[in-house]
């Protein structure tokens, strides 16, 4: 069990992590080494603070400890270089040992700068995720490894590889230039979206480490929203996360099996999240320029505001998917539009739209296409074809709970077919 003191200290540490790192990097440079030093200071604090209490100036404490650690590393690196090269030191020692107690100006943008740096387009997505969680989120390598179900060594490799490429490319520690900023922000938001999804899809007990990631993604997105309050897509992403996470308690049973949206117990939905998300997206849609996260959030809001599945405003959802497909065309959006179309105009209309995706080799192989087709065939009353599609989808998915769900849908149709044959036989 985590004690109250421990949770309080952890929350504080995660919030301070990017500020401390920002101060160090602006003062000393050496992003890679500074990041290691901050991580060590955080680990030290995580052990110490719950025992002895949080210091009066926690940020100052962390900066002092991390700076000492960093200057030690720089000094020993320097000493090694000196031994190796038998050459004079490159930096005057007093600059390296300068007391960190004096003023470190607090830069509001440090968190944002770190997010842009961690989600630099030159890094692989896996490295972007790991570095964002550690440098900005203040998570330890071990925590990230547990969340992504990979060995700690692998996460350490990804982080060190990411830092090496940042160092090698000489990316400065500052916000990207204005003309690039919108595109770069898209990458930052995508990384946060991936972190959220990684946590959200986790369902059962063993996966609780992973579901912490949703809270972390929401926390970081709130942070971005605080720094960029006028950006519609930032608001849209935060709204999308809240409106999706609102359904978390209802989307899986205790054994980990999945509950589809129309069968969820809506009393379990998180009303506070729904209210906040709906307000956010409503405001964004009326004030900012339109974007895909806002539209996805709007669709989630329409689902969430229906008291019963039967009350869902499908015509509105269909319109929103049409808009989404116009501004960001993608086969997965078409797939979802087919569901909405089926709900408005009947399953055949949805199936016709799906058949346009069969030509796309990439989607045709995807289990989601077969799963949606199965669902629409079932709606259309073609149970035999639906069963075949459920089975194909079950064989193609790589998610265990989804495979079980699809198999149970297929089994249910078989059961029904048997019962009706038996009934016919008796009459």
């Amino acid at each position: 069990m985590r004690t109250q003191a421990k949770v309080g200290a952890e929350d504080l540490l995660r919030q301070l992590a990017p500020q401390v790192l920002g101060s160090l990097v602006r003062r000393y440079g050496h992003f890679d080494l500074a990041e290691d030093a901050v991580q060590e200071a955080l680990l030290g604090a995580a052990l110490r603070w719950p025992e002895v209490g949080i210091p009066e100036n926690p940020r100052g404490w962390l900066i002092t400890v991390a700076a000492r650690r960093l200057t030690d590393t720089l000094r020993s690196d320097q000493a090694r270089r000196r031994r190796e090269e038998r050459a004079a030191a490159m930096a005057p020692p007093d600059e390296l040992v300068a007391s960190p107690r004096d003023e470190y100006p607090m830069a509001e943008d440090d968190t944002l700068t770190l997010l842009f740096l961690s989600a630099h387009p030159s890094l692989s997505p896996a490295s972007q995720l790991a570095l964002t969680l550690r440098a900005v989120g203040g998570l330890t390598t071990a925590e990230i490894a547990r969340a992504f179900l990979v060995p700690e060594a692998t996460i350490a490799q990804r982080i060190s590889r990411a830092k090496q490429s940042i160092k090698a490319s000489g990316i400065p520690f500052e916000l990207p230039p204005k003309p690039e900023r919108a595109d770069r922000l898209q990458v930052v938001l995508h990384v946060l979206y991936l972190v959220f999804n990684e946590g959200y899809t986790a369902t059962v007990g063993a996966d609780l480490q992973r579901s912490d990631l949703t809270a972390e993604a929401i926390r970081l997105t709130r942070e971005v929203r605080r720094l960029l309050p006028d950006d519609g897509e930032v608001a849209g992403l935060l709204a999308l996360m809240l409106l999706t996470d609102a359904r978390r308690a209802a989307r899986a049973r205790e054994d980990g099996s999945l509950v589809p949206l129309e069968e969820q117990d809506r009393a379990l939905w998180n009303k506070r999240h729904i209210e906040e998300g709906t307000a956010l997206v409503t405001e964004a849609l009326s004030t900012a320029s339109l974007g895909p996260y806002q539209l996805q959030a709007a669709i989630a809001a329409v689902h969430d505001e229906a008291a019963r599945a039967a009350d869902t405003d499908w015509p509105q959802i269909l319109t929103l998917y049409e808009m989404l497909e116009r501004i960001s065309p993608n086969p997965m959006v078409t797939l979802n539009r087919a569901v909405a179309l089926a709900m408005v105009q009947g399953p055949r209309a949805g199936l016709d739209l799906l058949s346009t995706l069969d030509a796309d080799h990439h989607v045709a192989e995807h289990h989601r296409l077969e799963a949606v087709r199965a669902h629409l065939l079932e709606m259309a009353g073609d149970h035999e074809a639906a069963r075949a599609s459920y089975r194909t989808a079950a064989r193609r998915t790589t998610s265990l709970p989804e495979r079980r769900y699809l198999e149970s849908r297929a089994a249910r149709l078989l059961e029904r077919a048997r019962t009706s044959t038996a009934r016919k036989g008796r009459s």
Partner: protein
């Protein structure tokens, strides 16, 4: 996505290789593992298996498990070990595995690992 790479080799053919060639093969295999572990795509903790002749098989017979030696398969290739990749796509996983020397000489099967997590329905 995680993928398991199942490495199939032919022990007879491997033993028949000249010593220098076998050493070169092992060096190449080690370098391969190291390179992709360092890129953060090949997970630490791959497993190498003893020869299939040391296997036991537990198989149901008349509803009860029975233990037999082997499989003693006459097949030239046997499962020699496996390791796990964590990559964005299956394409990337097969691209990496193409650098495994076993894939050049024998065969490496790449198969997705089932995820305990499930998407929104």
């Amino acid at each position: 996505m995680k993928y398991v790479a199942l490495v199939y080799t032919n022990p007879g053919a491997f033993e028949a290789m000249p010593q220098a060639e076998r050493d070169a093969f092992m060096r190449e295999a080690d370098a391969y593992l190291k390179e992709y572990q360092e890129s953060g795509e090949l997970l630490e903790g791959g497993i190498a298996l003893a020869d299939a002749s040391t296997s036991k098989t537990v198989r149901g017979r008349n509803g009860l498990p029975a233990v037999t030696d082997g499989p003693f398969a006459e097949a030239k290739e046997q499962l020699a070990g496996f390791y796990v990749l964590d990559t964005e796509t299956l394409e990337r996983a097969t691209e990496i595995v193409a650098h495994d020397p076993a894939a050049r000489v024998w065969a490496v099967e790449v198969r997705p690992v089932m995820d305990q997590a499930g998407p929104e329905m």
